[in-house]
């Protein structure tokens, strides 16, 4: 009978190999391969920089205080706002909660349901993103970040801090250079029956720990990266066709219903924040070129934007209404360059101050 007072006789076998030499060879080979990959990453133009992960977002969400100024919305709010300039003009450093390719409504709802929050929300509105219904990718992106914030464990938090340290020192830690996106570039004959979901363009920005995001200079000037990013926007900003198993009329009715619900939910969220003494201001950030034409055609200003401002009663700043804001050109159609974002923020400040004045 196995007893707890004697040693057990079961022992896992160990292969008979010259282990020390083997381990030395593996360590050497892995080190050489890793260094070579780092050199290759830098030769491709990548530099050590943080990845914009749900953990980085959760850090910022956690930094929100009851009276904070919070920026929410899509990537335009992320690229086009200079946090230093806003801090100087508004008296406190805003918390950057905008998310690439996201619908900001879940974040607005989260702040509205936070009974302690009575601060200010600067909300970027790109109608195709704001009204994206669940379970679309923009809605999912916000939900994923919120879920991380709500359920983050101690282990995940420490892993995030270790990862940030590595990302700030190694270029190959960039999300573009993971095995998954590299495999996606393997040339395979496409499948005729499959209609892919548009994917976001490759990385073209750096992000700080407080999520200040700056466009790379290589994307600011005409060239292959700028073209690649530009070409990615039109599919991303085109709503998917109805699935074949849903009648078109039913699909259209469902979308209209979802949009009406989003209007109503947004009004409710804004009123909740206002009722606690908080403020919400909607901002439409610059967009250029073919993408602007595309957005204006799909979501004319008289539709979602005007409707949202009227229904919520919150102030709105539409870049085209002001010559000093309308004169910027987005190099890749959707975002301002790092330099322009500072100037744009300086010019946006007086409008924000006016909108937020008591």
């Amino acid at each position: 009978m196995p007893s707890s007072t004697s040693n057990f006789d079961f022992q896992r076998p160990v292969p008979d190999l010259p282990w020390r030499g083997l381990v030395l060879a593996v360590v050497l080979l892995t080190t050489v391969a890793t260094v070579a990959w780092e050199i290759r990453a830098r030769s491709l133009g990548y530099r050590p920089s943080l990845n914009d992960t749900s953990d980085l977002w959760a850090d910022q969400r956690q930094a929100v205080k009851p009276d904070s100024i919070v920026i929410i919305g899509d990537s335009r709010a992320l690229f086009d706002n200079d946090l230093d300039t806003l801090q100087q003009g508004l008296g406190q450093r805003p918390v950057q909660l905008a998310l690439v390719g996201s619908c900001a409504y879940p974040v607005l709802e989260n702040l509205a349901n936070d009974e302690t929050f009575h601060g200010t929300v600067i909300a970027s509105v790109v109608p195709l993103m704001w009204f994206a219904p669940p379970p679309s990718p923009p809605y999912h992106n916000s939900q994923r970040a919120l879920k991380r914030y709500a359920h983050r464990t101690l282990a995940q938090r420490s892993g995030h801090y270790l990862s940030m340290w590595l990302e700030e020192h190694l270029a190959f830690m960039n999300a573009d250079l993971k095995l998954e996106p590299l495999l996606d570039d393997v040339p395979v004959s496409p499948r005729a029956a499959f209609h892919p979901t548009p994917v976001l363009p490759p990385d073209f920005a750096t992000i700080d720990r407080d999520r200040r995001t700056r466009m790379w200079e290589s994307c600011n000037v005409p060239g292959p990266l700028q073209e690649r990013v530009k070409n990615g926007w039109l599919p991303v900003f085109t709503p998917p066709p109805p699935p074949p198993y849903v009648p078109k009329e039913a699909f259209a009715a469902g979308m209209a219903k979802a949009m009406a619900a989003r209007f109503a939910d947004t009004i409710t969220a804004v009123k909740k924040i206002q009722a606690r003494g908080g403020k919400v201001v909607f901002v439409r950030y610059p967009v250029s070129g073919e993408l602007k034409k595309h957005e204006d055609q799909l979501t004319p200003r008289v539709g979602p934007w005007n409707g949202l401002i009227k229904a919520t009663g919150a102030p709105g700043i539409y870049f085209e209404d002001y010559p000093e804001l309308a004169g910027f050109t987005c190099p890749e159609w959707s975002h301002l360059s790092a330099g322009d974002s500072v100037e744009f923020t300086k010019r946006l400040l007086p409008h924000l101050q006016q909108a937020l004045a008591p």
Partner: protein, 475 residues
């Protein structure tokens, strides 16, 4: 804490360094116990108290069983242990499930009862550590193991971090004896442990998460009708994903334990090369199937009371096995499908006896393929969130969808990834079904071992991982 996280890498290096630096064996055991509670508490610190309470209670009850004067009192203490352990498991894991079913049953008799939904958070790995702990009192009761006098040793046996949250389900009778004397590392044991950990992480991070998870998620998460090819690819992808995920965890656990000087038994033996369903369960989640065999099937009478009673016993065991995996009827159906397959296999075997043709290569090949196909069919119910989704996938797999309605949800690249990985998986299992990883690696040329190890490490570094939890954590 996840094995596939930077936090664990730092944690493990620190624990290993301190463990092999310390001289005193009791101090090293204290270190392991504290480390195990940090490992567990890093998810949700308060649940570490529940883990301790379970262990402390079974330590006490084990001593009472051993000290009991008569068989009646021994049995009473054993039943107390079973009842308390299963009640805790039932409250946390099955509370809402039972309430929902109770409500549904009453509604069938016209009684409108709406109990409040309990906002209960499931302690991670509760099914595993409950069985770790329960195995002790059951083995003490059966006389298979003597009770330990050290609460610290028992707490460590239950909480030992490599196997704490997702197995293998290590019996206290297997682990407690290893705590008596300080382990002495055999030649190569530490490095072999590291190689097994690399293999396990490669299975999880690269094969399960990178190559298969997206295809499986896309198919099982799709609300509309699927094309047959997509449905099959999604199900095959899940068959590979769950194997690499779970076997990857077990391999990591075995490797980590080896680095610390402990030996854990195999939890998987190339299950997709199984010829028949009883063979499958001798190869899949071995620690659970042997637990259910020893503590449920045999006490129910096993096959000692005739074929009909044995069939009923098998169905009961597989019903419980299904329910152990999750509080949903889909898991129960998954278990019952396996139960029916095991009963049918016995029936067929009783007819064919030991006929020579049953041992022929072609027969075994066909039976092996049928076994894998049936196991995949059962996985549909395991993975699908509800019966509606499972029905849609089965309909697509059997071509029962109207022409022109099915949707392709997988890209050509996804199909290639699934095809290559699953073909490689089946080939590897077929070639290795009668051997072990240790034997295969021992026969390999050194350059090949070094090359494969480097490739796995390189792929892990390149993939970087996305911190996905292991599937079996939820159980």
């Amino acid at each position: 804490m996840l094995f596939n996280s930077l936090t664990f890498v730092v944690f493990f290096v620190l624990v290993l360094s301190a463990y092999w630096t310390m001289k005193s064996w009791p101090a090293r055991k204290n270190l392991l116990m504290v480390a195990s509670y940090i490992f567990y508490g890093a998810w949700n610190p308060p649940f570490a108290l529940l883990l301790f309470a379970t262990s402390a209670l079974d330590f006490y009850l084990g001593a009472r069983i051993a000290a009991a004067s008569g068989p009646g009192s021994r049995k009473a203490w054993m039943i107390t242990s079973v009842t308390v352990n299963l009640s805790m498991l039932g409250f946390f894991k099955y509370g809402n499930f039972l309430l929902t079913n109770f409500e549904w049953t009453l509604s069938k008799y016209g009684v409108a009862y709406h109990p409040p939904v309990m906002d209960v958070f499931l302690p991670i790995g509760i099914s595993f550590y409950t069985f770790h702990s329960l195995s002790y009192t059951l083995d003490v009761y059966r006389g298979v193991c003597q009770p330990t006098k050290s609460l610290r040793d028992f707490v460590l046996a239950v909480s030992f971090f490599p196997q704490l949250v997702a197995g293998p389900i290590v019996r206290a009778a297997d682990f407690l004896p290893q705590l008596v004397n300080a382990p002495v590392l055999r030649s190569g044991q530490f490095y072999w442990g590291l190689l097994l950990m690399t293999l396990g992480l490669f299975e999880k991070i690269v094969l399960a998460d990178l190559m298969l998870a997206d295809a499986s998620d896309a198919v099982f998460g799709f609300a509309g009708p699927l094309l047959p090819l997509d449905a099959w690819a999604g199900v095959l992808a899940f068959s590979g994903q769950i194997f690499f995920d779970f076997a990857g965890y077990s391999t990591c656990a075995i490797g980590a334990a080896l680095c610390l000087g402990f030996s854990l038994r195999d939890n998987f033996r190339f299950p997709y090369a199984a010829v028949g369903f009883s063979d499958f369960w001798r190869r899949w989640h071995i620690s659970l199937s042997t637990f259910l065999r020893d503590f449920l099937y045999i006490p129910l009478g096993g096959n000692r009371s005739g074929p009909v009673r044995a069939a009923i016993n098998l169905m009961i065991v597989m019903f419980i096995g299904g329910l152990w995996h999750g509080a949903a009827w889909t898991f129960v159906v998954w278990g019952l499908i396996h139960g029916v397959l095991l009963v049918l296999e016995r029936l067929v075997k009783s007819v064919t006896k030991d006929a020579a043709w049953t041992e022929a290569f072609m027969t075994k090949l066909l039976v092996g393929l049928f076994t894998y196909a049936a196991v995949c069919f059962a996985w549909v119910f395991f993975r699908a969130p509800d019966f509606l989704s499972a029905g849609k996938i089965v309909a697509a797999m059997t071509g029962r969808i109207p022409h022109g309605v099915g949707v392709a949800v997988l890209s050509a690249l996804s199909l290639w990834k699934v095809g290559i990985v699953i073909a490689g998986l089946l080939l590897a299992h077929s070639l290795l079904r009668n051997t072990s990883v240790e034997a295969v690696v021992g026969r390999m040329p050194r350059w090949l071992v070094a090359g494969l190890w480097t490739l796995m490490l390189g792929a892990i570094i390149l993939t970087q991982g996305n911190g996905n939890a292991f599937i079996y954590f939820q159980f």
